[in-house]
């Protein structure tokens, strides 16, 4: 089985995240990493490949050139290769533009299953798969917490506001997984050592036949006008436990007459 995983390079979770007041885009100058939610999609892809006994897992990403480094984590986990779409003209792509570029890259791969993680850690976006599925004209199952594959069909169990749904789709299909679906493996030392030697291809918009006006800000249909501080909250207190935290919580609850 051939599986493509759409993955994103995001700022390190520990880094102080900020929006650049000039460009109003997320400041990506600091250390980057593989979006933690995508790690679950990579793990699920490896399981599907290994269960089917053949095929490959290809990581497809849109991002700056240095995103390749973050994608190496997926290779170290066991993915087979990376295709990174990297192009100045693609910077600042919104949903419409990003889905167009990714769909073009995925068309080239023709995978049986396209996997997405549950959300992007930086933009809190959790909708890209539906736009990509529409462009690829493939069935979609999102928020999948349990995935099975049998007889050319996939079956996903997922949680909604009303309970659990079970949805079935024929392959090829697009699937977005929840972070409850698995516990991702840690890359082994051998995996990490071998990752650099695996195929890592960087392609431009031109290589995919996507026009410069179809991506980036030119191809986007949303914009950011302004940044502002959120409405003030009441006082919040944060303490480090020095052994007396339980007493302090009790004291707080008594002060607030919450007992």
């Amino acid at each position: 089985m051939k599986i493509a995983v759409c993955a994103k390079h995001v700022p390190e979770a520990t880094a102080q995240r900020r929006l650049d007041p000039q460009t109003k885009r997320l400041d990506r100058s600091g250390e980057g990493t593989l979006n933690q939610f995508d790690v679950h999609a990579v793990e699920e892809a490896l399981k599907l490949r290994d269960a089917s006994g053949e095929g490959e897992v290809v990581i497809v990403s849109l991002g700056p050139e240095r995103a390749l480094e973050a994608m190496r984590k997926a290779l170290a986990m066991g993915a087979d290769r990376v295709v990174l779409v990297s192009d100045e003209a693609a910077a600042g792509s919104d949903l419409v533009a990003t889905s167009r570029v990714l769909a073009a890259a995925l068309e080239r791969e023709g995978a049986d299953v396209v996997l997405f993680g549950q959300q992007a850690n930086d933009s809190d976006g959790a909708v890209l798969w539906a736009a990509v599925a529409d462009r690829l004209q493939r069935p979609l199952i999102s928020q999948v917490a349990e995935l099975t594959h049998e007889d050319g069909k996939v079956r996903g169990k997922r949680q909604t506001e009303f309970g659990y749904d079970v949805i079935e789709a024929p392959l090829p299909a697009v699937i977005a997984v929840s972070d409850a679906i698995n516990e991702p493996r840690y890359p082994s030392l051998k995996g990490i050592m071998g990752a650099k030697k695996k195929p890592q291809e960087t392609v431009s918009l031109g290589d995919l036949g996507v026009g410069a006006d179809e991506a980036g800000e030119a191809g986007s249909r949303t914009e950011v006008y302004a940044l502002s501080d959120p409405p003030a909250r009441g006082d919040t207190v944060k303490i480090e436990d020095d052994g007396s935290a339980a007493d302090k919580i009790l004291q707080f609850l008594q002060e607030k007459k919450a007992l």
């Binding site: 909604t160 480090e240 707080f252 607030k256």
Partner: protein, 320 residues
């Protein structure tokens, strides 16, 4: 402005969030229409009229019976193309997020999500979106029409306007690939559990507990405080605790007098389900956890040390 509001329904009832968004659209002005897609849903159209829609498009089709997104994209595509709506609004949910994003790709339209308000400013429509864990508010807009928006759940309360809606039947043409995914089982609630909506005190556990066996810590504290036990989506999905006890966007919305979050990082999907709680106390070992942004009293520390101690102290205090 000509707005179309996507109405979501479940078991013969319109969703409150959809009606809230409809009310917001009516308050913004212009022509406000709504769309209902499903099987046997026509009787819901009249209610949408009371909440601000002047016209409700209804597609009654067995192929739309299951709440799957892709056939809904087909229906909305032709509706928006024919109706000339410049704005299409959705109350965020598992279903509508997928419908909105599919429609954005289909129409080449801009979609802004997680909005907590929509306003007219300088003659243009502006969406307010909290970003980076609600640490900054972003004013967002659209560079073309139609403008698509997903409104964060629980943002707008429904408000009756006392109007009535004209009902117009539509028969959308559905594409083959849109019908390829099939609902095998729908809205199955896994197991019975306690009711948490009416509890004055809730102690909730998240992934930070480390394993299902540690829910005992949460249960003991809840018992001492005379409260109910709740859980996050991550641990419910992982099978540690029943769905009935889940707080968050895809679970229950609660507003107890006291909410104690144990080992919960506090992602947006959790926050929308408990942010109107009276007092929020959080215990988490990660000092960067978003929950500390909105907890009235936050403790950075080891829950395995703190929670049993707190339980003892509460017990002693109540016995005194």
């Amino acid at each position: 402005m000509k707005t179309l509001v996507f109405l979501e329904h479940h078991e013969g009832k319109l969703q409150q969030d959809s009606l809230g968004v409809l009310g917001k659209a009516a308050a913004l002005g212009g022509e406000v229409e709504a769309v209902l897609l499903g099987e046997g849903v026509e009787q819901l159209a009249a209610e949408a009229g009371k909440f601000g829609a002047s016209r409700v498009y209804v597609a009654d089709d067995v192929l739309l019976a299951a709440p799957l997104p892709q056939p809904r994209v087909d229906a909305l595509e032709s509706l928006v193309n024919d109706g000339g709506h410049d704005t299409v609004l959705f109350a965020a949910s598992v279903l509508s997020a997928d419908v909105a994003a599919g429609l954005a790709a289909r129409l080449g339209a801009g979609l802004n999500w997680d909005l907590t308000d929509l306003v007219e400013e300088d003659g243009r429509l502006v969406g307010k979106r909290p970003a980076l864990g609600d640490a900054v508010y972003v004013d967002v807009g659209w560079t073309s029409e139609p403008r698509l928006a997903l409104i964060r759940s629980g943002t707008f309360e429904p408000a009756e306007t006392g109007g009535s809606a004209e009902v117009e039947k539509i028969e959308p043409r559905l594409q083959d690939f849109s019908l390829a995914a099939r609902m095998v089982e729908q809205a199955h609630e896994e197991s019975e559990g306690p009711s948490i909506e009416d509890a004055d005190v809730i102690v909730a556990g998240g992934r930070g507990l480390g394993g299902p066996e540690n829910f005992a810590l949460v249960e003991e504290l809840a018992k001492a405080l005379g409260g109910a036990v709740a859980a996050t989506r991550a641990v419910v999905d992982a099978g540690w605790y029943p769905y009935a006890a889940q707080v968050g966007q895809t679970g229950k919305t609660v507003s107890p007098k006291l909410y104690v979050a144990v080992g919960i990082s506090g992602a947006i999907q959790h926050k929308v389900g408990m942010q109107s709680s009276g007092l929020i106390v959080a215990i988490n070992k990660d000092p960067n956890a978003p929950i500390f942004e909105y907890a009235d009293f936050g403790v950075v520390g080891d829950l395995h040390e703190i929670v049993p101690k707190l339980t003892e102290l509460v017990r002693a205090r109540k016995a005194a």
